[in-house]
């Protein structure tokens, strides 16, 4: 691989042992996939900080890089971790598990990362610009940042993220290069009666991910009113059922004003038309139980935005959730602190909602909780629920989630 003088200096160890090892790993990955050189990246997003997902090896890696003096070379945001840093004690969490997570936080913050603790960094203050070269991990965030923002990242995994952050470099391959960002399959949604709700786009994303597998889909027939929260749900779903790293939506996403712009020859690309039956089958495949059995509602995968929290507060409208039902919303500290100055957070808490920051239901310690069937409007939660938590799942829209919660048994909790 051709290296710049700067890169040779990192490799010689002049910038410390951690940066040297990080660059060695990036070079090895690049060479495996035929990259001839590296490119500078200006931001990184770390997925490897999720102790619940990566276990002891991930903690050892982070602490080793930190102890060797690792320091991020570019602004680096952090994914959700495995505990609510402020309120984990109230969350019936195993103290040893929380302590492991605290060590993970210390290692990444010690290397200079920004404590965003969110899986939706693209909706926060550190989001990159169109065309910016970045190194992002977290499958939903990779899809969103490539597709909706039009920044450029490969589908990076744990550890690659930190190596890119410590060196400010990534291999020049894959989606960093414009010609590799063209559509490889066309998915036509013109016949679908999509409603403006996140669950409809979650179902659609889940289906498109299955159809596209690891190709870049160009999706036609998406209405102009689609919101960033709906595209967030779509991105998380498409990256759960497929290995999709980016999509185009014609007339919606910035690289795709029309089919000719994202394909040399659109008439020669495989095209699949999504029928209503396929769509309904996809929705059905996300549930393993019936709504009556739900004893918890989970919202916020990916992390809920301010708009989503406000919508839930509006729909609840001060009504109380009975005590036999858990209603949890996962969000990040940036959104939480924005809304703390209003009555939104207070009102949600008074209604019986538990608002959890920094973390994720799938990657935390749930040993203190006995809910058996959760209801959610997130396709990503629904997809991973059984395998990662052993719980059954009911996929529903937000209105159904709220009605199910309000109609459950027990005294209102005040």
């Amino acid at each position: 691989m051709k290296l710049t003088q700067d890169e040779q200096e990192i490799l010689s160890g002049k910038r410390g042992e951690a940066a040297k090892i990080a660059l060695e790993i990036i070079i090895e990955l690049g060479e495996l996939y035929g990259a001839a050189e590296l490119i500078p990246v200006s931001k990184a997003h770390i997925d490897g900080c999720l102790y619940g997902a990566v276990g002891e090896a991930g903690l050892e890696f982070a602490e080793k890089m930190h102890q060797m003096g690792g320091r991020v070379a570019v602004p680096t945001t952090l994914n959700a971790n495995s505990r609510d840093i402020n309120c984990w004690v109230n969350h019936r969490m195993n103290a040893e598990f929380a302590e492991k997570n605290a060590r993970m936080e210390k290692a990444y913050l010690g290397m200079g990362a920004i404590p965003t603790w969110t899986c939706a960094p693209y909706q926060g203050v550190c989001a990159p610009r169109f065309g910016e070269q970045v190194a992002w991990a977290e499958s939903n965030a990779i899809v969103y940042v490539n597709s909706v923002i039009g920044a450029r990242t490969e589908r990076y995994g744990d550890y690659t993220d930190l190596c890119c952050a410590l060196t400010g470099r990534a291999p020049k391959f894959g989606l960093h290069i414009k010609k590799n960002r063209l559509a490889q399959i066309i998915i036509n949604c013109e016949g679908l009666p999509l409603k403006s709700s996140t669950d409809d786009f979650a179902v659609l994303g889940y289906l498109v991910g299955k159809l596209a597998k690891d190709k870049i889909p160009a999706i036609t027939g998406i209405p102009q009113w689609v919101t960033s929260d709906q595209l967030k749900a779509f991105s998380a779903a498409i990256a759960s059922s497929g290995a999709v790293a980016m999509f185009h939506m014609i007339g919606i996403t910035p690289e795709a004003p029309d089919l000719n712009t994202i394909s040399d020859d659109p008439s020669n690309i495989e095209t699949i038309e999504i029928t209503k039956e396929m769509y309904l089958d996809s929705r059905k495949s996300l549930s393993s139980a019936t709504p009556e059995s739900a004893d918890a509602i989970l919202i916020g995968c990916p992390h809920a935005s301010a708009a989503e929290l406000m919508e839930i507060a509006d729909l609840l409208n001060g009504r109380f959730i009975p005590e036999e039902m858990e209603f949890w919303i996962y969000t990040n500290r940036e959104v939480y602190s924005l809304l703390e100055s209003t009555l939104i957070i207070d009102n949600l808490i008074k209604s019986g909602v538990r608002i959890i920051r920094d973390t994720c239901f799938l990657n935390t310690d749930l040993s203190g909780w006995n809910m058996k069937t959760v209801m959610t409007n997130s396709a990503k939660y629904a997809h991973y629920m059984k395998a990662l938590t052993g719980r059954e799942v009911v996929f529903a829209n937000l209105g159904e989630c709220i009605n199910t919660a309000l109609q459950s048994k027990g005294q209102p909790r005040i």
Binding site: V54, K213, S240
Partner: protein
């Protein structure tokens, strides 16, 4: 009669073992548990299989970028498969193997083979792997 498959060695190495073949995209995160060592995705066609000591084939990856993390932890605990065979090997997978070599000196060969050759793979076959060469015994 022995069959020889020549693939592309992404991460080199020699090993042998009994094959477990899936015909669906696979994610180690949410697909494999490093607590139990088995496949936990109930939708998978290899659900409940234990991967330790086996050679694991699946056509391509899908899902979370934590696949690298899950794989590294499985390698550290000694419950990972001995090698992985794909049609299309994702970078998310490769990095797990690269970091395992750097951190723990552990080798997990990863080989990509053609779609046609993939059809020759059947669960229960015994394979011997030497870099890009797969011997089906």
């Amino acid at each position: 009669m022995k069959t020889i498959i020549k693939g592309k060695s992404l991460v080199g190495g020699s090993t042998e073992g009994t094959l477990i073949v899936s015909h669906e995209p696979f994610s180690f995160f949410g697909g494999f548990s490093f607590k139990t060592g088995s496949i936990v995705d109930t939708r998978s066609d290899v659900y409940q299989e234990v991967l330790k000591g086996k050679i694991f084939a699946f056509p391509c990856g899908k899902g979370s970028s934590s696949t690298a993390g899950v794989l590294l932890e499985a390698l550290r605990k000694g419950i990972a498969p001995r090698a992985i065979i794909n049609i299309n090997s994702e970078k998310i997978l490769a990095i797990g193997s690269i970091v395992a070599e750097k951190m723990y000196g552990l080798n997990l060969p990863i080989i990509s083979i053609s779609e046609d050759d993939y059809q020759l793979l059947k669960t229960g076959l015994f394979l011997r792997i030497n870099n890009e060469i797969i011997e089906v015994m």
